[in-house]
C-alpha cells in the first residue's frame, strides 16, 4: 500500500517534505495505525503519537487524505492511495506527525473544565436524576484529540483568542451539568466576540469528530442560554 507522509525534523530539515512509502500490509493490519506501526518497522525515524490504539486516548489525531481523524479507528480499506498523511493543521509541528498542542489545551483550560460547586461535599456523592445525567450525553465523551479545533478556520486564524469547538463543547458540558453552580460566571466568560462568537457555524468540527459529537450544537445551546438570560 502506498503512503505519502509529511516529514519534518527541525534539527535536520530546513523545510518539511513529503516522503513516499510502499509497504506490504499483513492481514491483521486493518487500521491506519497498524499500517503506520508497520512503516515504523522499516523507518523508525518516523514520529507520531499513539497510545491506546482504540480511539479512546485521542493521541493519534492526524490529517488523513485531507480530513482530520484518528489513525487507530480509520480502516485502511476505504482509503484512496497514495494515502496522504499530514500533522493536524493549524498547530506548530514539533516533528513529523507530532504537533504542539499547548495552544489547544490552553483554550481548554480557559473554560475551567471542572465542576464548580461551593456546597460542602455530601457524604456519598452529588446526586443527579437520570434525566439530568442524560443532559451530559454527547458532551462528556470528548477525548480532546483536537481533530475538530484544528479543522476549524476560526481556530486557525485566532487560536490565541477563539476557544475552539473542543473547548466550547466542554464549556457547555459544565453549563449543562445540574451539579455546577457557576453558570453565570461561565456565560460571562464566554460572552465575547472572540472567545465564542468567532464560531460561524460552518460545522467542520461536526464533520470530522471521530466520536460523532456535535460541537456546533453545543455552541448553539450556549448562545441559547445567553439569549435566554438577556432578552
Amino acid at each position: 500500500m502506498r503512503f505519502s507522509i509529511y516529514r519534518f525534523d527541525p534539527d535536520k530539515d530546513e523545510k518539511p517534505y513529503m516522503q513516499d512509502y510502499d509497504v506490504v500490509l499483513e492481514p491483521a493490519d486493518r487500521m491506519l495505525l497498524d499500517a503506520l506501526v508497520r512503516i515504523k518497522t522499516v523507518d523508525d525515524s518516523l514520529s507520531l503519537r499513539r497510545s491506546c490504539r482504540e480511539g479512546v486516548c485521542g493521541s493519534d489525531g492526524m490529517n488523513i487524505n485531507g480530513r482530520n481523524g484518528l489513525a487507530c479507528i480509520t480502516p485502511v480499506a476505504g482509503l484512496k492511495e497514495p494515502v496522504e498523511l499530514r500533522p493536524l493543521p493549524g498547530l506548530p509541528v514539533i516533528r513529523d506527525l507530532i504537533v504542539d498542542m499547548t495552544q489547544f489545551f490552553k483554550q481548554y483550560h480557559s473554560i475551567k473544565p471542572y465542576l464548580i460547586n461551593n456546597d460542602p461535599p455530601p457524604e456519598t456523592e452529588r446526586l443527579q436524576s437520570p434525566e439530568e445525567r442524560a443532559q451530559l450525553d454527547g458532551l462528556y465523551e470528548c477525548i480532546l484529540c483536537a481533530c475538530c479545533s484544528t479543522a476549524c478556520p476560526s481556530f486557525w486564524w485566532n487560536p490565541d483568542k477563539f476557544v475552539g469547538p473542543a473547548g466550547l463543547l466542554q464549556a457547555y458540558r459544565f453549563l449543562a451539568d445540574s451539579r455546577d453552580q457557576a453558570t453565570a460566571e461561565r456565560l460571562d466568560y464566554l460572552e465575547d466576540p472572540y472567545r465564542l462568537f468567532r464560531c460561524h457555524s460552518i460545522m467542520n468540527c461536526v464533520d470530522v469528530c471521530p466520536k460523532d459529537l456535535n460541537p456546533t450544537r453545543a455552541i448553539g445551546r450556549i448562545k441559547d442560554m445567553m439569549v435566554k438570560r438577556t432578552v
Binding site: 478556520p153 476560526s154 486564524w157 485566532n158 490565541d160 483568542k161 460571562d188 466568560y189 460572552e191 465575547d192 466576540p193 472572540y194 472567545r195 465564542l196 462568537f197 468567532r198 460561524h200 448562545k223 445567553m226 439569549v227 438577556t230 432578552v231
Partner: protein, 115 residues
C-alpha cells in the same frame, strides 16, 4: 508595550442576534416583493414608480435596506476580526465600513423618497 492576549470585551450576543433578526426581515421583504411582483407585474417604468411611491412600500424598502446594512456591518466586522490581526488596520477598515454603510443609508433615503 506588554505582548499579551487580550480578550473579554463582553459583547457579541447582540450582534449575533441582530444578524439573525435582520436576516428574517430581509427574507420577509424579499418574499413579499416577489409575491407583489408576481400578483400584479408592473407593465412599465411608471407602474413600478407608482408602486414605490406608496409610503408603506417606501418604509418597508427602507427597513429592508437598513437590515441589509446592519447585517453587512456584523458580517464585515466578523471578516475583519477573522483575517486582519493588526489592530490599527482593523480599526481603520471597520471605520471605513461604518462610514460607507452610513452613506448608503442616507443615499437609500434619497433614492426612495425621490422616485
Amino acid at each position: 508595550m506588554v505582548k499579551r492576549v487580550t480578550t473579554g470585551a463582553h459583547y457579541g450576543l447582540r450582534d449575533w442576534l441582530a444578524q439573525r433578526v435582520t436576516a428574517v426581515v430581509m427574507v420577509i421583504f424579499i418574499l413579499c416583493l416577489v409575491a407583489a411582483l408576481l400578483i400584479s407585474p408592473p407593465h412599465d417604468d411608471n407602474a413600478l414608480k407608482a408602486m414605490f411611491s406608496n409610503q408603506w412600500v417606501r418604509i418597508a424598502s427602507f427597513l429592508f435596506l437598513v437590515s441589509l446594512f446592519w447585517h453587512a456591518w456584523v458580517g464585515m466586522r466578523n471578516i475583519l476580526m477573522d483575517y486582519i490581526h493588526t489592530t490599527g488596520i482593523r480599526l481603520t477598515l471597520q471605520v471605513l465600513v461604518i462610514l460607507s454603510l452610513l452613506f448608503y443609508t442616507i443615499w437609500s433615503v434619497e433614492i426612495l423618497w425621490n422616485l
